[in-house]
């Protein structure tokens, strides 16, 4: 009775893991080992950190049935703030990082507050803040690339323990803390309850407004983490940062098994999904694929992954098959 439930709820994660392993091995074999070289793994893992962080940032908002369209510009702005503070006002790194994290969190909090106050749907609010922040990002960095800050930060981005880049470790730890937050703390559970059934949550003494506020704020914090990782892994900061975050932030959690209707989280799923997508980048470089081919294959990979998991799920859920949902 226990085991099946365990699997039933983790089918997507499971099949994603399978796909990841297969893809990984395929790359190792076809690159006759090059992929296992320190440099390759380094690169692979380093740029895995950001997709994970922004995926989680989107996930926490998805779990209350809303979206955060501002992930990109929130990240862009907090990166810009950190860069400017360090480069132009030569603040110490730790302080800049703190302010970066704080500002991102604040932006999230503002999103949350606006959603609660105006009772407008989060989609519109974050679209609004997205636009506003786009403006601020330009104000902060104009069209230049800022990199006149202590090189110890980019160097930190390149350092690693046993081949694991620090910044990936940061991302993973964040993920673990997040899963503890959702599984073990009352606040976490309440946020999920709101996502699962707001009316019921309310009648059970949960304040949905608080949950919404918390979810958006948390999303901000996670974006802050993503920004720190970004600034540590890039040669500099300019207004293009965050430009490609939006779809990535949705892709990871949703491929990872999170429902857009809210109430679910899938932290491991998000992480592994980010990994699968990252494998495609590697393949692109490895086989010098044409980007159009890459896009095509990303499309196909995504589809097949989910189709497979769906097929597995339905096979295992026969016993108490519910209504076939078309979400």
């Amino acid at each position: 009775m226990k085991l099946p439930i365990f699997f039933k709820n983790r089918m997507t994660e499971f099949s994603l893991s399978v796909i990841f392993v297969i893809g990984f091995l395929a790359l190792v074999l076809t690159s006759n080992g090059v992929f296992l070289s320190r440099a390759s793994l380094q690169g692979f893992l380093t740029y895995l950190a950001v997709p994970i962080a922004i995926g989680l940032a989107q996930m926490v908002v998805l779990c209350i049935g809303q979206m955060n369209l501002a992930v990109g510009t929130m990240g862009g702005v907090s990166c810009a703030i950190m860069a400017v503070l360090m480069a132009d006002h030569n603040l110490p790194i730790w302080l800049a990082i703190f302010i970066g994290l704080f500002s991102a969190t604040a932006m999230g909090a503002i999103n949350g507050a606006l959603v609660v106050l105006t009772q407008l749907n989060g989609f519109i609010i974050t679209l609004g803040t997205y636009t506003i922040l786009l403006g601020f990002q330009y104000r902060l960095v104009k069209t230049f690339t800022i990199d006149k800050y202590p090189s110890s930060l980019p160097e930190f981005g390149k350092r690693n323990i046993l081949g694991f880049p620090y910044i990936l470790v940061v991302a993973i730890i964040t993920a673990i803390l997040l899963s503890l937050f959702f599984s073990r703390t009352i606040i976490g559970r309440r946020v999920l309850a709101t996502g699962g059934n707001p009316l019921a949550a309310r009648l059970s003494g949960v304040s949905n407004n608080r949950s919404i506020f918390i979810a958006h704020t948390l999303s901000g914090l996670l974006i802050g983490v993503a920004s720190v990782i970004t600034i540590a892994s890039l040669p500099g900061i300019n207004r293009s940062i965050g430009g490609d975050w939006l779809l990535a932030s949705f892709a990871a959690p949703i491929i990872g098994g999170v429902l857009m209707s809210g109430g679910t989280i899938a932290i491991y799923g998000t992480v592994i999904a980010a990994g699968v997508v990252r494998l495609v980048d590697i393949a692109r470089a490895q086989y010098s694929l044409d980007p159009s081919i890459v896009s095509l294959s990303v499309g196909v990979v995504t589809l097949s992954t989910v189709a497979l998991s769906e097929w597995r799920r339905r096979r295992t859920e026969r016993q108490n098959e519910g209504m076939k949902e078309l979400i």
Binding site: F35, T46, Y47, T143, T145, S240, I241, D244, I282, R284
Partner: protein, 330 residues
């Protein structure tokens, strides 16, 4: 913005307000402002305004141009987001009787040199992107010692300019008679620095050992390649593009071999004058739609401090050429 000294100055330039409208925000276009300002100061042009609200979307770009027109700007120096679409926009502006110049890129879809009459703008003052790319490629090939594997990093694959650049690089390689091989061309990584850096890292990780040279013909890839090569310490020669401070520093410190700079200042400076001359009906183009190369220059350790003077000089020459050869003035 800056405004002319004598509004109704003798040659009527004072009545001309030039709108300089790039496709969107990009470091490349920033010198347009100074170029325009210089023209205002020097020739008493009524004023120039720089508007980068196009955000690389042809629809928004058109809207930006219309907004300028509504505000009473009567001469337009435009970089088209989509080379094949911009001619339609030009035609519209001409129909309203404005002076129009295509700056930094020419309408696409035909050979501008062979059939200038197809250009709906009065003229096109731009770097020959193909030529610039060729220049960069030959330079890096020289650095590579005339042989080895070359990689080309560039922007949007379905943009006429990008394709011209790719052809330029291919031409340079062809001239080596097979001694240099084009290992791969990575496109579509100019959209943001993160993708560019990621792509370069993956490339160097997968193929670093085989690569002897990298030529970049887009901004973010240039920054990324500079950093990638310096951090991996691979013996790879790099020729970047444009003269962002970061890149100039890299040249000075010898991380990369050089960069190919174009002439946006000249485009703003000369462009503003020509537009004013046309707008004030003082001069007319001898060959409407004429294409003029605004020049591209290879910058290396040797000339990194002096190239700007060269470039300014060239601009003056181009201006003279307009005044004496390309136009007839009363």
């Amino acid at each position: 913005s800056s405004s002319g000294d004598s509004a109704g100055s003798a040659d009527g330039f004072g009545a001309i307000k030039v709108a300089l409208v790039p496709g969107g925000a990009h470091p490349y276009f920033q010198p347009w402002k100074d170029g325009g300002a210089a023209a205002v100061a020097e020739f008493g042009v009524g004023g120039t305004e720089f508007n980068e609200t196009g955000e690389w979307d042809q629809t928004k770009h058109n809207a930006a141009i219309d907004a300028m027109a509504a505000q009473g700007y009567n001469a337009f120096g435009v970089f088209g987001v989509s080379p094949t679409d911009i001619n339609t926009t030009f035609a519209g502006l001409k129909a309203k009787g404005f002076a129009v110049g295509s700056l930094a890129s020419c309408p696409g879809g035909y050979d501008i040199v062979k059939e200038p009459q197809k250009n709906s703008a009065d003229f096109c003052l731009s770097t020959d992107t193909g030529k610039a790319a060729y220049l960069a490629a030959t330079a890096v090939i020289k650095e590579m010692g005339g042989k080895g594997n070359l990689v080309h990093l560039t922007g949007n694959a379905v943009d006429a300019n990008t394709i011209r650049r790719m052809d330029g690089v291919k031409q340079a390689i062809a001239e080596t008679g097979g001694k240099v091989k084009l290992l791969t061309t990575i496109t579509d990584i100019d959209s943001d620095l993160q993708s560019a850096t990621k792509a370069v890292t993956d490339l160097l990780a997968a193929k670093g050992k085989q690569i002897n040279g990298i030529v970049t013909t887009a901004y973010n890839p240039a920054v990324a390649a500079t950093d990638g090569v310096s951090s991996t310490k691979l013996p790879i020669k790099v020729i970047a593009i444009d003269d962002d401070q970061k890149i100039l520093d890299a040249i000075k410190s010898g991380v990369i071999s050089g960069t190919v700079v174009q002439n946006p200042w000249g485009q703003g400076y000369v462009g503003s004058w020509v537009l004013s001359a046309l707008g004030s009906k003082k001069c007319t183009m001898n060959t409407p739609g004429l294409y003029v190369d605004s020049g591209s220059f290879l910058v290396t350790k040797d000339n990194v401090d002096t190239y700007n003077d060269t470039r300014q000089a060239t601009s003056k020459e181009i201006l003279a050429a307009f005044q004496n050869e390309y136009m007839t003035c009363k």
